[in-house]
């Protein structure tokens, strides 16, 4: 019984750490992804990391390594196409999204039997995260947060106005490639925790919720972190008590938080005040 408790305890600690790391990274990057309107790109990269993980399972190497390599390749491909075919980005992203998903399905079909391991990367399985994977996630999280902190001002410039950033001599190519590489790393971090399908929710929902209460990137990042941590931890606890998928509950809570944020948005509330004022003025003049 004691041994069982020890194992249960270590699973929970690993799950808790993995959830914390995923929430921290996805939400911070998510603010840039949402503001730069890159969420489809995030989804495409998430699916390419799934393809990489399944390919790695086939080749019997570390799935996170496979996910890392393929997601980086796809993120660079998208970044390159994005620059060359700026006007047709929507179509190009659709094609890359389709290609990464097709590759994932192809590799999945090549597995000899129904693969439980592969399934973990599709829908996530936070309770199966191992100590080795935690070490990888810690390294990737540290790298991601360090890059975001150091290049924060440059990222802010290219997200706000890339044209001027380039025209005034900022190294926009370097910044764009680094930002997309960070998105790729984040999809790898969240692959085992929420799975490739639900990664996009963690990238988009906390950042979109934070937008409703922020006027600066800095405040949006802090709020997005709080929203993501709340969703992640609540999802984890709820999944243990209800014996359901943690990633699904986390995703539902994150989206529900967005709807609440939309309703109670301080930005929209101001608009309502103005509408009310106009109505009062109109009534007075009538």
């Amino acid at each position: 019984m004691g041994t069982f408790n020890f194992f249960l305890y270590s699973f929970l600690i690993n799950a808790l750490i993995a959830t914390l790391l995923t929430s921290l990274t996805t939400s911070a990057v998510g603010v840039f992804v949402v503001q730069k309107k890159m969420s489809t790109m995030g989804a495409a990269v998430a699916h390419s990391s799934l393809a990489g993980a399944i390919l790695a399972l086939l080749l019997k190497i570390n799935p996170l390594l496979g996910a890392f390599i393929l997601s980086i390749l796809f993120s660079f491909l998208i970044s390159y196409i994005g620059k060359k075919e700026e006007g047709r980005m929507d179509v190009m992203l659709g094609l890359v999204f389709g290609l990464s998903t097709a590759l994932a399905v192809l590799f999945l079909s090549l597995t000899s039997t129904y693969s439980v391991s592969a399934w973990q990367y599709i829908i996530g399985d936070v309770l199966s995260v191992t100590i080795d994977e935690i070490n990888i996630l810690l390294t990737l999280t540290f790298t991601t947060l360090l890059l975001i902190t150091l290049l924060f001002k440059g990222f802010k410039f290219i997200v706000f106005d890339e044209e001027t950033a380039e025209a005034m001599g900022l190294r926009t190519d370097l910044l764009r490639y680094t930002l997309t590489m960070i998105v790729a790393i984040v999809t790898v971090i969240s692959l085992k925790v929420v799975g490739s399908i639900l990664t996009i929710i963690l990238l988009v929902a906390p950042a979109a919720s934070a937008y409703e209460f922020s006027h600066s990137f800095e405040k949006a990042v802090i709020l997005a972190e709080l929203f993501a941590l709340t969703s992640g931890l609540t999802g984890l606890i709820a999944s243990i008590y209800l014996n359901v998928s943690a990633s699904a509950i986390t995703g539902i809570i994150a989206v529900f938080t967005y709807f609440l944020s939309y309703i109670f948005s301080t930005k929209r509330r101001k608009c309502k005040c103005i509408v009310k004022q106009i109505r009062v003025i109109k009534e007075k003049t009538l």
Partner: protein
């Protein structure tokens, strides 16, 4: 040394010729207005000067550098103000964030703002009469105020040349006057100001030189020499008239 020298430049987008045999130069700091209808190649000309587009024929030299070869080095000496429509008006930035962006290009990729950066940014905001808006969200400003902040960002970079793409589009008359006066003051400090516009009247009074452009340079020189009904009609491809209103020229469609 010429500040800008453009010789026999041709630019094409696929089969469409955007600039044809364009030649002109700037020898000393001045206020230059590039005027022409939509699709005349005005923005293309700015992009050529910045090295963002390479002409397929012709020679370009800006501040003694070839923009297509020394792009980064050159761009860090140029301030640029884009068309405001290209910027998300609800972006998550404060006014100070936007103006401080102008200080970034001259720094290394991993940058921290110094006291001097903040001072220069505040000075630039003051020049466009927006210093009271330092901590305000960019999204709370009117179109004209946003335009002035974008100009302050370019000024904060301490450029030798300032290029502005339609800076007066969607700006009210009061803001228009403030923007133009701030730009004119920069010229007296040794900055060359080039504004691109399809709206002739506002900038004419302050322009030292004018280029009438419609893919080709129709006319170039001081406004009083260059602007007449013939050149304007040729540029805009419709009849244009010049009226006199209390000694000032006002250009209207004929």
């Amino acid at each position: 040394m010429n500040i800008v020298k453009v010789e026999n430049v041709y630019v094409a987008y696929g089969p469409f010729i955007a600039l044809e045999d364009v030649t002109w130069s700037i020898k000393k700091p001045l206020f230059l207005s590039v005027i022409g209808p939509n699709g005349a190649g005005k923005t293309t000309l700015l992009r050529v000067l910045l090295g963002l587009i390479k002409p397929f024929v012709g020679k370009v030299e800006v501040l003694g550098l070839d923009p297509s070869k020394k792009a980064l080095k050159l761009r860090r000496r140029i301030g640029y103000v884009p068309q405001r429509e290209r910027i998300d008006p609800a972006a998550l930035v404060l006014v100070k964030d936007v103006v401080l962006m102008g200080r970034l290009p001259k720094k290394k990729p991993i940058a921290f703002f110094t006291k001097e950066d903040v001072e220069k940014a505040r000075e630039a905001l003051k020049l466009v009469d927006m210093d009271n808006f330092w901590d305000k969200p960019f999204s709370h400003l009117s179109g004209g105020q946003q335009q002035r902040v974008l100009i302050a960002r370019a000024i904060a970079s301490q450029p030798e040349i300032l290029l502005l793409d339609e800076p007066l589009a969607g700006v009210d008359i009061a803001s228009e006057g403030r923007i133009l006066q701030a730009l004119k003051n920069l010229v007296s400090e040794g900055v060359t100001v080039v504004i691109v516009t399809h709206n002739l009247n506002p900038s004419l009074k302050l322009s030292d030189e004018v280029i009438l452009l419609n893919r080709k340079v129709v006319a170039a020189g001081p406004p009083q020499k260059v602007l007449n009904e013939e050149t304007l009609t040729k540029t805009f491809m419709r009849e244009m008239k010049i009226l006199r209103l209390e000694k000032e020229k006002v250009i209207v469609e004929g």
